[in-house]
């Protein structure tokens, strides 16, 4: 019981401490609002902006969702291809390692040149940063398997297709979802960056505008909304993971990824 309570109390206190630190410094140091507005000012701005949020929130959610879904589908497909062909694996692995090192975000302006201002560019940048964690984790999950499990499969004369779908695939699920958790946070970053470099809509675009107008409270309110979107996506991934892998005992989630 004490454990349970402590489990909820400590994180709440940590959050409260950050807010107290923020509001405390506003009261003590009295910075001008364009440097650091108080919590109340940000909330007031959030409310005052009202229906104007809708279009921007939808645009950002679209970019994240499209990029994330593409990353999941293509990342998984790529992983299956890689593990199913030795030749392909040998050909592609060095390329993958190289591309892993390249900062994908650096392509953002170039992607803008290729696809123009709009959803395609934003979603593509989100996809680019979210794709590799899905691909690499899923591939590792499909390959990483106890040798004894494969001996067992041979001894019971299981066919290769059966081994893939009934052993390798479920075995890869925890890895797959670990990749999805990372990808979900990266997709948010990618979509916002996409809106920074070239967009006429979205919360990232709004942050740039707010900055130019020295409307820091609006910028912080937009950051708050982006975080909410990110949390919802992350939560959805964790929930899906719990539903798909009840046998893992809910070991996933934030604890496992940290």
């Amino acid at each position: 019981m004490r454990e349970r309570l402590g489990g909820a109390v400590a994180p709440t206190l940590a959050f409260a401490a950050v807010l107290v630190l923020w509001q405390g410094s506003v009261w003590l140091l009295r910075p001008p609002p364009f440097i650091l507005p108080g919590i109340g000012q940000v909330i007031a701005r959030l409310v005052a902006f009202g229906p104007n949020w809708v279009g921007h929130v939808i645009a950002t959610v679209e970019g994240i969702a499209l990029g994330f879904l593409a990353a999941v589908v293509l990342g998984t497909a790529g992983a299956v291809l890689i593990v199913s062909s030795d030749m392909l694996r040998r050909a592609i692995t060095p390329l993958l390692v190289t591309v892993q090192i390249v900062p994908k975000i650096a392509f953002a302006p170039l992607i803008l040149v290729w696809f123009g201002i709009g959803l395609t560019s934003r979603a593509t940048i989100a996809f680019l940063v979210a794709f590799f964690p899905v691909l690499v984790n899923t591939a590792v999950g499909l390959v990483q398997i106890e040798p004894e499990l494969l001996d067992l499969a041979r001894s019971i004369k299981a066919r290769p297709a059966w081994v893939f779908f009934r052993i390798r695939f479920p075995n890869s699920l925890p890895y797959f979802f670990a990749g999805l958790r990372v990808a979900s946070t990266l997709a948010v970053i990618g979509a916002v960056i996409g809106e920074f470099v070239g967009s006429d809509v979205g919360l990232g675009y709004l942050i740039v505008i707010a900055n130019n107008q020295i409307d820091t409270a609006l910028g912080l309110a937009a950051i708050f909304l982006i975080s909410v979107i990110g949390l919802i996506l992350y939560g959805a991934v964790v929930l899906t993971e719990r539903l798909c892998t009840p046998w893992a005992g809910g070991e996933g989630g934030l604890k496992a990824s940290l």
Partner: protein
């Protein structure tokens, strides 16, 4: 009459950059149907290698293994294996893990489910059929693995240090359990262990292997009445067997 299992001059070498390394020196052994035979030896003596060759999981460099007169190439029919670790599928319940060999062969579940439930009862896991492996202790998981190996009523049961990872007390308990299971479902068992005590307790015959590179040093008949209880370990003959095997393993032959 030919033996049920014939191991004839089986040798295993690995070719490495340093040259050819012997994992198992030429080994010959015959096992009769229904016999419980243990292979005991120190780590690295090649006993697991020998088991894998008998199981058709590893090709030998020389020699031949025949089961019921048929040379072993791939994993043969009618052989159940229990590995060093339980090797259960985490996403399958106890019942579904026990049913795995039937599922892999696409045999009808309905026909095997009663068998699986009987086996789960036989190994003392009644009431755990719907649990996931992570909810079981190490000893319980290995019981599931034994049920799984027995599902298709194998003629031969291969066990590779199945209790090696368990604590001493659970191990003693599992030895008793295995003897009971073997009494209820008599079959040929080839049991690999590094515990001399365990080998003597369970077996009709004990095959003693020498340290690396391993080969068979001696074969001992264990003349102790069955069923053997916990206190058979204090029997003078039991003590004598254990002492003799220990001497055999470490003697410089």
């Amino acid at each position: 009459m030919a033996a049920f299992i014939e191991i004839r001059d089986v040798e295993k070498r690995y070719t490495t950059r340093a040259g050819s390394q012997v994992a198992l020196r030429p080994t010959s052994l015959e096992i009769a149907a229904g016999e419980f035979v243990s292979i005991v030896g120190p780590s690295g003596c090649g006993k697991t290698t020998l088991m894998k060759i008998v199981a058709g999981l590893l090709p030998c460099t020389r020699g031949e293994v025949r089961i019921d007169g048929v040379p072993v190439k791939d994993p043969p029919d009618g052989v159940g294996i229990v590995f060093q670790t339980p090797t259960l599928l985490r996403w399958r319940t106890v019942l579904d893990n026990v049913l795995l060999p039937a599922a892999a062969l696409r045999r009808p579940r309905g026909r095997y489910e009663p068998v699986a439930r009987d086996l789960i009862r036989l190994v003392g896991l009644e009431g755990f059929a719907d649990h996931y492996p992570r909810e079981l202790s190490g000893g319980m998981q290995q019981r599931v693995a034994i049920s799984r190996a027995l599902l298709l009523e194998p003629r031969l049961l291969l066990m590779d240090e199945p209790f090696g990872a368990l604590d001493a007390m659970t191990r003693e308990e599992m030895n008793l359990e295995l003897q009971r299971i073997w009494n209820e479902q008599p079959k040929t068992v080839l049991f690999i262990t590094h515990s001399i005590d365990e080998a003597v307790f369970l077996s009709d015959r004990v095959v003693v292997m020498s340290p690396r590179p391993g080969g068979v040093r001696a074969v001992l008949d264990v003349a102790l009445d069955r069923p053997r209880g916990l206190h058979v370990r204090e029997h003078p003959r039991f003590v004598e067997y254990v002492g003799r095997i220990r001497d055999l393993i470490w003697s410089k032959a």
